[in-house]
């Protein structure tokens, strides 16, 4: 574990007094306090308005929310400024930065540790609130104050933690060090610059649907009116979370040097749980939008997804997990977040119990074979997957606390339990998109699924034969991916043919127009394709990895899989803020060179490894320099097939999401009532 060591005896201490007369950080600190007070007003105004029977009061929360964002931004900007000018009188800067740190990482060092991460959390929360305010003033003005009040209380809760228990504004006065300790070297990586903001945009994004849902409960807001708004926010949060998680895997792959990208580490699970419920949510929310059902269930999912975001923050930030991510151990903070979570959960579920009956379904299921029914099975699978991940993550903690016996719940457990659930989900993905709302005609469904099933079975069988013996998840996964992909492409082909039968258009134009004419549908299908591409990547890199650990001296050649790799020696370099030993390896098949490094940062004792990776579409060669013994080096070499599919799948998911979100809501443009959509069957 990388523990933060306190600066009790700083190395280079000088007798500086605070020479900058008006220190900007103090201004930022003050702004943050003001922001908390404003957030309190934002949270209280609608309550007071109701209590004093003075409706005009509630508009205070709207102006307060704008100020909260501005003030929080001032606070954040002064912190970044302190990093940029290396103001080591700020304890947080002194702990996590250094004059030699590249500028890029000085800025991102803000979220390099506990206090700053929490500040980023609340900053993003105020940003979302700000956007909700701007959009809501014309679109849902009468509900806006309540939405803002909910968010105001969340902001107050987080500012309480930041300002009173883990303030990034703490000063080291009157004496402060001339040089900072450094940012943890494994965080000095481009992946770490963007991964936390993306992840937090996802986590915190779920606060918006949460605020909408609580408001809907309190004001008995009609479901048709709030669910469409909520859906877009849920998609945005889900998208950021997806990108954040993939970037985290990408960072782990490049930086941690163990050849993989996902280890079912508790911290990874902490981000995966809200993702799983978010996935359930973005599907079931459509059922409510289209078929006026599942109202209460959706509110339950929204509250739970946000609660899991809080749980993720709690797990990572409280230090209860023994994990590389838990940089600080401080029970006071953990207790605070736990208490905060309990309050949020009991208040929101309390409101849900009292008011839930006013959000009720009005329609009924027509057939077990309808899209809404299949979406319910989707929800069953994703909820069970989420609960399983939660169980596996918390079980060792609970067992340890209750009985004192320590067990490990590692990757083999999660793979054994969660992968089968995902395979079922893939099967469902292929079928559900072929089934219309309300009721499917069986003979039509059968004919639609015939070819995809054949393609899937043949692909799976071919793979099983070609790679025998192989773990069963490989051929089954590939078969299902082929099945789903065929449904998507035949579906698209059918729509394209229909369009061309009606309109004399060139093929290319028709192909694009078909997609653009139904962005929501094809956006979803592209996201599904991205998932399939990732699934292929998981099968390839999970089941077909070759690895070897060997002692090599200069000139040695090693064979891993079909790759032959020659070790060409190690050179020493001195870079701006670290020393490095750079190994040179030539891949004899392609002539390309990889250069894994062992870096030594002056402030850290243990050297860090930088893996050398040669990445092509079909395989990555991944080389790690472990340690020297005489003129030999211990070297790990991995050949990881299809890893690039995982990252590319993520990009495809993102494209699909952009397409889906690029639709404007029709009702705002058209004055006439929207015509009933015609099912193209």
């Amino acid at each position: 574990m990388i523990r933060r060591q306190h600066l009790l005896v700083p190395k280079n201490i000088t007798m500086h007094s605070d020479s900058i007369s008006l220190n900007l950080v103090e201004l930022g600190h003050f702004a943050a306090h003001l922001a908390m007070i404003m957030a309190l007003i934002q949270g209280l105004a609608p309550i007071l308005a109701r209590w004093l029977d003075e409706p005009r009061l509630s508009s205070l929360s709207v102006s307060a929310s704008l100020l909260v964002f501005v003030l929080t931004t001032i606070g954040g900007a002064t912190l970044i400024h302190a990093f940029v000018i290396s103001n080591f009188s700020v304890e947080y800067v002194a702990q996590h930065s250094n004059t030699l740190l590249p500028m890029f990482y000085k800025v991102s060092a803000l979220w390099g540790a506990h206090e700053g991460s929490l500040y980023l959390w609340v900053w993003i929360l105020t940003l979302y609130t700000f956007i909700v305010t701007l959009r809501g003033r014309t679109r849902y003005p009468e509900h806006l104050p309540i939405i803002l009040a909910v968010q105001g209380w969340l902001i107050v809760g987080f500012f309480g933690l930041i300002l009173f228990l883990s303030s990034p504004f703490e000063r080291l006065l009157p004496m402060f060090p001339q040089e900072g300790r450094d940012l943890n070297p494994i965080l000095q990586d481009p992946g770490m610059v963007i991964h936390p903001p993306m992840l937090y945009l996802g986590y915190v994004g779920f606060s918006v649907p949460f605020a909408f849902a609580i408001t809907a409960l309190l004001t008995r807001w009609k479901s048709e009116l709030w669910i469409g708004l909520t859906r877009r926010w849920a998609l945005i949060a889900w998208g950021f979370l997806t990108v954040g998680i993939i970037l985290g895997g990408w960072w782990a792959y490049y930086e941690l040097g163990w050849g993989g990208y996902w280890a079912w580490d508790p911290v990874e699970n902490a981000s995966f749980m809200p993702w799983l419920l978010g996935t359930a949510l973005i599907h079931s929310i459509t059922v409510q939008e289209r078929r006026q059902m599942l109202h209460a269930w959706n509110i339950f999912l929204v509250i739970s997804a946000f609660a899991l975001s809080l749980l993720g923050t709690f797990l990572v930030r409280s230090g209860v997990l023994s994990s590389v991510h838990a940089f600080s151990v401080d029970p006071g903070r953990g207790l605070y977040i736990l208490a905060f979570m309990v309050v949020v959960l009991s208040v929101s579920f309390g409101i849900f119990m009292r008011q839930g009956r006013y959000q009720q379904a009005r329609e009924s299921i027509n057939s077990m074979m309808s899209r809404e029914s299949l979406f319910i099975w989707n929800n069953v699978l994703f909820t069970v997957a989420c609960a399983t991940v939660m169980l596996g993550t918390l079980y060792p903690l609970a067992l340890d606390a209750l009985t004192g016996s320590k067990i490990t719940v590692g990757a083999p457990y999660f793979n054994a339990v969660v992968i089968p659930i995902f395979l079922f989900a893939l099967l469902l993905m292929g079928i559900a998109t072929q089934v219309p709302w309300r009721k499917a005609r069986m003979e039509k469904l059968r004919s639609r699924l015939l070819w995809p099933s054949v393609v899937g079975l043949v692909t799976g069988a071919a793979m099983a034969i070609a790679y025998w013996p192989v773990h069963w998840t490989g051929p089954v996964g590939v078969a299902l991916a082929a099945f789903v992909a065929t449904t998507i492409f035949t579906d698209y082909g059918r729509a394209l043919r229909q369009r061309r039968a009606q309109l004399a258009e060139p093929l290319a134009r028709a192909a694009v127009k078909t997609v653009l004419g139904n962005r929501r549908h094809y956006g979803g299908m592209i996201v599904h394709l991205g998932i399939l591409v990732m699934a292929i990547g998981f099968v390839g890199s999970g089941l077909f990895r070759s690895e070897i650990t060997v002692a090599m001296k200069q000139g040695d050649v090693v064979q891993v899989g079909s790759e032959r790799i020659r070790f060409d020696g190690v050179d020493a370099f001195s870079r701006s803020n670290y020393q490095t030993l750079e190994g040179k390896f030539t891949l004899l098949n392609s002539g390309r060179v990889v250069t894994p490094e062992r870096r030594k940062y002056p402030v850290q004792e243990a050297p860090t490894t930088e893996s050398g990776i040669d990445s092509t579409l079909l395989r990555d060669v991944y080389v790690v320099l472990a340690e020297a013994a005489g003129d030999h080096w211990a070297v790990h070499v991995y050949v990881n097939p299809l890893v690039s599919f995982v990252w590319n799948g993520g990009i495809i998911i993102l494209l699909g999401l952009f397409l889906t979100l690029s639709t404007r809501r029709k009702s705002l443009k058209q004055s006439s009532p929207a015509p009933k959509p015609i099912e193209t069957q």
Partner: protein, 130 residues
């Protein structure tokens, strides 16, 4: 031999690391554990014997996959039970919500088809003018 060592090392946790199996860790302990696995394999011990050896030294903690016994059974049973409960819940929900079947849909008549085509063409023209 190397492959077998790796396969066993994958299922053992490096006791001093954060949630890392012996196969992936660069720590000294993990290296020693890999050496022990190799030695024992060379001495002709089976996979189970080697795993038991480590469990007797470090406890169940070294198993990446929790065992199916009084401490771990819940972990394995709960997901299955939960899936069954949720599936029954889903089924009951669908049953209870199931209303009347829709009346059969009349196939589109020729006039309807013509109207739809006309509407589609008009829409397209609108788009083109934009």
């Amino acid at each position: 031999m190397e492959r077998e060592t790796l396969a066993i090392a994958k299922d053992l946790r490096c006791a001093v690391c954060q949630n890392q199996p012996v196969s992936e860790s660069n720590s000294d302990l993990a290296r020693d554990m890999r050496a022990i696995i190799r030695e024992q394999l060379e001495a002709g011990k089976s996979r189970d014997e080697i795993v038991d050896y480590f469990v007797s030294r470090y406890g169940n903690y070294v198993l990446m996959k929790p065992p199916y016994d009084e401490t771990g059974a819940l972990l394995w049973l709960a997901p299955v039970l939960l899936l069954v409960v949720m599936a029954i819940g889903g089924w009951v929900f669908l049953r209870n919500r199931k209303g009347v079947d829709l009346p059969p849909v009349e196939p589109l008549s020729k006039e309807d088809r013509a109207r739809i085509s006309a509407a589609a063409a008009a829409e397209n023209e609108n788009e083109a003018q934009k």
